[in-house]
Structure formats: C-alpha cells, structure tokens
C-alpha cells in the first residue's frame, strides 16, 4: 500500500484531489475566493492533463476527485471530461448551475447514473437576498435547473455558503431544497471564508491551514493545501497555502503534502466545517 493510501485509510489525509479546471466565471459573487468573473484569465488545466492526474491519483491511493473553478461548465468539454474522470474515480463538481439551458442539459447525458455529483451553490431561500450575493437571476436559474438535473439521473447536492442565516431562513431553505428533490444529507452548510473578494466586502472568517482539510488541490499555478488555498486578491494569487509549483508527476505534490500533514490527528480540521 502506498503512503498516500495509508494516510487516506488512517484519516490523516483526505481522499479527494481537487482540480481548478478554470478561473473564469459567468458570475462575480461577492464572497468569491478567486475573484472569478467573466473577463478574468481562464488559467485552465488541460483536459488531457486532468485525465492523467486522475489516473495518477488513483494509483497513489486517492479515492475521489473534485472539479471547481471559476465556473467549470464554461468549459465546452466538461460533460465528456467529467464522464471520463468519473470512470477513474468518483467526482464532485462545483457549479453555479446557471448555464444549464435545454441544449446544455442535453449535453449532460453522459453523466446520468455516473458517479458524478453536481454541488450547486444556493445561499438563501429568497431570490432578492440570494441574488444580492450571487448576481441577478441566479436564484431562478438554480431553482429551475435542479429538478431538471435530477430528472436526468444526475446526482445533485446543495452547498450553502453563509455569513449568518436566521433559523427561519434556514428552515425555509431546507424546505426548498427538499421540494427541489435534494435530501438533507445532500445539503452542506459552510461559512464564508475571508479570502479573495470576501476581504473586499469585509465578510467571512479568517482561516489558515489548520482550519482546512488538507485536500490536495491542483491549479495551473501549482499544488495547494485545500481548494480554499489558491485564492486571488487584487488580481494576485495568494501563495500562503501553496505547497509546490510542481504538479507533474502528481506524486511530487502528494509527497510534499504528506510531509506537511505528518502528525496531524484525524479530524483536526473540522472546527469550522469548511468542507
């Protein structure tokens, strides 16, 4: 058994490897970690490279993949790429779910029944408050897209990122996701993290490596500790959670991450529920 597999089995290393597929986004949310927006540089990971890394991740003993951005579905090749990645390891992909026009929904057919979860951001039960943070029209598109995705056999979970939320709003939000067909088990809540654009808006909680799961995260710029690591502030990449610039072969950043987590007890990162 490889040292990665041992660490994953022991719980000292999370099993998922994240890929930042691209940094551009059709939205510009006010708590975005990466200052993503329509006109930012894409900084894509190559399709073939992601597939190669998925194979390497599996060989090393990782147990799952995550794809995030930016908005991954701005990549035209994403449905086929996700299907290929999911043939290697189970995948969760983070999306704002605002791009799923009928034509795009049709293109998601390779994902039906595949081990791919779409994690969709939905922050409030009301369009006005939700869209203040995420942009006009976001709420309506998400609420429309989720049942259609589920109808097509695609697994959906909802991520709610909040600074604070009243009990009443949370209760209404949970009722809404249940109505949309998403169970309580597939609804996750997490705080706004004070990195990226959230700093500009004075939002969120301060975090460091000890607060974050040590999930190996690969971007066009290098390998980072956690998908909350490769954040952007005033157009400049934060490097405080950079592990190494070398991402190929994947065993290089994996070995570096293992050195960093050595001695960290399992579950030591769960205090803020940043997952």
């Amino acid at each position: 058994m490889s040292s990665v597999a041992e660490a994953v089995n022991e719980g000292t290393l999370p099993g998922r490897v994240w890929f930042y597929s691209n940094y551009n986004c059709n939205l510009a949310c006010n708590y975005c970690l990466t200052e993503s927006a329509p006109r930012v540089a894409r900084r894509e990971l190559g399709t073939q490279r992601m597939v190669e890394m998925a194979h390497e991740a599996k060989e090393l003993g990782f147990t799952g993949l995550g794809v995030t951005g930016g908005e991954p579905f701005l990549r035209l090749d994403l449905p086929e790429l996700l299907a290929e990645l999911a043939s290697i390891l189970p995948v969760v992909v983070l999306t704002n779910a605002t791009l799923f026009t009928p034509i795009k929904l049709e293109r998601l057919s390779p994902l039906a029944g595949a081990p791919v979860q779409l994690q969709i951001s939905l922050d409030r039960p009301d369009p006005i408050v939700n869209d203040e943070m995420r942009g006009p029209g976001n709420f309506a598109k998400v609420v429309e897209a989720i049942p259609r995705l589920i109808d097509r056999g695609i697994t959906v979970r909802i991520a709610t990122t909040v600074e604070d939320i009243s009990d009443e709003d949370l209760s209404r939000l949970c009722a809404l996701h249940r109505d949309l067909g998403v169970s309580d088990d597939d609804h996750i809540m997490r705080p706004v993290v004070r990195r990226g654009r959230a700093i500009e808006y004075g939002m969120g909680v301060d975090v460091g490596a000890p607060d974050l799961p040590a999930e190996l995260t690969i971007t066009a710029d290098g390998a980072f500790w956690s998908p909350f690591g490769p954040t952007v502030r005033a157009g400049l990449l934060d490097t405080d959670l950079l592990i190494t610039r070398t991402t190929s072969p994947l065993r290089t950043p994996a070995a570096a991450l293992l050195r960093l987590v050595e001695g960290r007890p399992p579950g030591d990162d769960t205090q803020l529920n940043i997952r």
Binding site: A209, W225, D238, T239, D240, L241, L242, I243, T244, R245, T246, T252, A256, L260
Partner: protein, 183 residues
C-alpha cells in the same frame, strides 16, 4: 528588482520555516516563489558556503573573489562585511574586489595560488590551465579541491541569480560598507 519578494504573510507552507526568525533576506524571499527550489537550494548553499573543513577566511576569499569576477553587486556588497569579519584586512578585501593587485597584497603563497585558480574557474572557458591546477594542488588535498570547486560553482550560481533578479543589498550591509569606506 526583476521579481517581487515573497513576504512572510504570503510565504508558501514549505517556505514558512525560512521566515521563522524574521526577514530571511532577498535570496530566500525570491526563491520562496518556488518552494521546492527553496527547500533544495538553501541546505545546499548552507553546506557549500557555510562552516566546513575549510577555514572561514579561505571560503570568504573564494566567495568574494568569484563574486567580484562575475560583477555581482549584491554578493560583493553582502560578502565584503563577512570577509572582514572572517579576518581579511581592508586591503585584502579591496584587492579581492579587483581594485588592487592581489599578488602584491596577499603574501601567503597558498592564498595567491587559490585566487589565481578562482579567477580561472570563474571566468575561464574549458579546462583550468595545468600550471594553475598544479599550483593549487601544492597546497590543497583532493577533498579540499572538491569543496573549493563546489564553492566557486555555488557562488557563481548565486552571482547570476542575484544579478539577474537585481536583488537589493540589505540596509545593514550598506551601512557597514559606508562605515568601512568600502561602499
């Protein structure tokens, strides 16, 4: 500067130990952009340039001379105070920096042979001439020659790194240079 210097607040995880005791200096702060290079380079530099079987004085002769030959402003300014602290006289330092003839200032034949050999290694092309090699071998054993060769090479690497990236000399070194009249 040709690149920014990484500040402590943005230091990558593997670079953080190098910032633990405060400002690590511009070489570390530049290398911190690529932490895997930093992790490999600094221990090498510490062994190549730091305390070893060869005396501090001899090592600083090599470092200052190679740096002067390669016209590395940062390395010459930074190592001039170090050379003085290592026991070299002001006149010796001036000679090593190229402002006086080393042969007339240095009296120890082993040191004179070493300086000529460093000049050839640092600036020559192809093999070191037989006469300079033999002169060096009269005073230094195999392990010392190996170490001195690595020292010249490591210094040259730093010379080109610091020069190409236009790294700034520390204010403390500049003050000391002014105090010694060696600015």
């Amino acid at each position: 500067m040709a690149v920014g210097l990484v500040e402590a607040s943005n230091a990558p995880l593997l670079a953080r130990p190098f910032y633990a005791e405060g400002d690590p200096g511009p070489i570390v702060a530049a290398l911190a952009h690529v932490p895997e290079l930093l992790e490999a380079t600094m221990p090498f530099i510490a062994v190549a340039l730091g305390p070893s079987a060869i005396s501090w004085r001899i090592k600083e002769i090599v470092i200052l001379r190679a740096s002067a030959q390669l016209e590395c402003r940062y390395c010459v300014q930074s190592h001039t105070p170090v050379a003085l602290d290592a026991g070299l006289s002001r006149d010796e330092v001036i000679a090593l920096r190229g402002s006086a003839l080393a042969d007339t200032v240095f009296t120890d034949t082993a040191e004179v042979a070493l300086i000529h050999w460093v000049d050839e290694v640092a600036t020559g092309r192809g093999a070191v001439s037989e006469s300079l090699r033999d002169a060096l071998r009269e005073h230094y054993e195999d392990p010392e020659v190996v170490e001195l060769t690595v020292l010249v090479g490591a210094t040259m690497m730093l010379n080109r790194f610091c020069t190409a990236l236009e790294l700034p000399t520390s204010p403390e070194a500049l003050v000391r240079l002014a105090d010694e009249g060696l600015g």
